[in-house]
Amino acid sequence: MRKRFYLWVLFLSGLVLIAYISLTTYKEKTPEWKKHQAEYKELLIRNAKDEDIRKRAREMDIRLQQLYLGELNRIDRCISCHTGVENPLMADEKVPFKKHSGDYLKNHSVERFGCTVCHLGQGRAVNKKEAHGIGRETYWDYPITKLEFIQTSCALCHDLTFLKDKGGEKVVAGERLFRQKGCKGCHKLEGVGGVLGKSLDGIGSQPIAYFPMRYIKGEQTVAQWIREHEEEPRRVVSDSQMRVDVTPEEADFLTTYIMSLRAEEIPKKLRRLTGARLPDEIKDEGEALYKMYCIACHGSGKESVFDDAFKRTIPAITNPSFLRVADDKFIRENIEEGRAGTQMTAWKSAAAGLTEKQIEKIMRYTTKDRPKERPTQFGYSGYKVNVNKGEEIYASRCASCHGEYGEGGIGLNLRNPVVQNADPEMLAKTIRDGRESTLMVSFGSKDGGLNAQGIADVVAYIRTLSKKEYKLH
């Protein structure tokens, strides 16, 4: 009886094994690409113009095809399914049999460049899901680039000056937007730029795992992440402070450009980079620099804006009454050293990476509308100040906007070193005259209700703020 039991076990497990092996063999013998190639062969025989081509089509053997790209260190098997990519007879067929669109292959022969160098995806894979790397349960870091972003790849080997009228309009437009929307105000690129955001060097080759995809509505790719993050930063990253205002079309362009910032370098032999730059890219003038580094936060600089994400007011830096009291030295120091405790970065070469010359140009640009007339002197040093009195006045008149400890809110942060070390004369003048078109009224005017002595006391108190402990409520 025992023997019989074992025989049954052996028989049944043998059956299971046979079933498994036949299934595996069947799967192995009928891969996706074989079906595609068989269909391609039929198409060829049907489309053949003459008997000669038909004969050759009949002789075509169906086999795994690959491009060995020694120079690029890649192996692309895409042509196992996309067999007709170079065949002019296949111009009107459907994908995957279709010939490559445009005349790109004329100068980028498949033999030499392959496919994944432009389109990305997993070249060695032999089925669609793994080769394209898009969709659920695909684990390839560089999924196939959507055609809307494909110009990204052109910029790897070609200058923007070359691309601007040769099919690279999107990436060129993206680069221009990148400069004009002030992206580098927060994002470092090649060592220059602010520190609030992530550095963008090589972002195009960063793996998907670096980008939390939870709130992405579209396809889960890095490009899509970047696009949605440009459109709605705080939906994608809840604590993002990014200030960006782009139309969907602009987001497309910007994404195309940003994705072209890749770490990988195409071999020199295959690249056509000369280092030539667009005419308006070279311009190192105040306005261009202001747009590149400042405009994202300060905008036109004429109005002060309360920013929800920053939880503070962004000052109006070209406000005439500010320019009237603030001298070049003060403004230059603000740009160079930044404002500690706020989002304002230190722009000196050791920090955000601007040269002294560039900072000078930005300062010249922002102060170009400085009113001619100077404010009357306050004469702070002539007053005998009473800090305690100043504290009382501060608590009743200033704290509601500037915060109990001067930490800022609707009003600016007064604890930071730049204000603390500023000329008291300037502070006094500001309190006396206020700031036009902002919430900072003129406290020295009839309605302001502070006399000169009171202003001097408050200034004295403000200058002690940084020594007070800042307690969160």
Partner: protein, 158 residues
Amino acid sequence: MSSETIDKTEISRRSFLSLAALWSAVLPAIALLGGIFRMVKPDVHYEESIRFRIGTAENFPVGTMKKLDDKKVFIFSTDNGLHAISSICTHLGCIVNITEWGFQCPCHGSRYNQNGKVIAGPAPRSLSWHEISQDIDGSLVVDASREVPAGTVLKLKA
């Protein structure tokens, strides 16, 4: 008697079971062995293909010669048609230069005539002629793994 017949069928059933069990073990084993031997011959190799496209016939106007350095081959286009001659010297594998009378190897001075036949030097064999054919899409394909007798040309239709 009856008990004997029952016994017999019992035995034959059992032997059927043992046979089936045996075969259900042997068959997968054979299939697996077959699979293992199938692995010996790969579908593709991790190396430069020795069968390569060289573009369409337009790239090779009649009366011209092209030296494809990275593919190590000369492509000649004559009135008769196209032919491809290897540029690898049969002596020690240097790349031969083309001269007005044929080919000359810079390493040890082997000389070949215009058809690649050895005329001087240490080279043991003539330069090989590769098969050249036209693919379905009209592009030319050189197969360096297939040697053709000297003088074979690919005639192109006008």
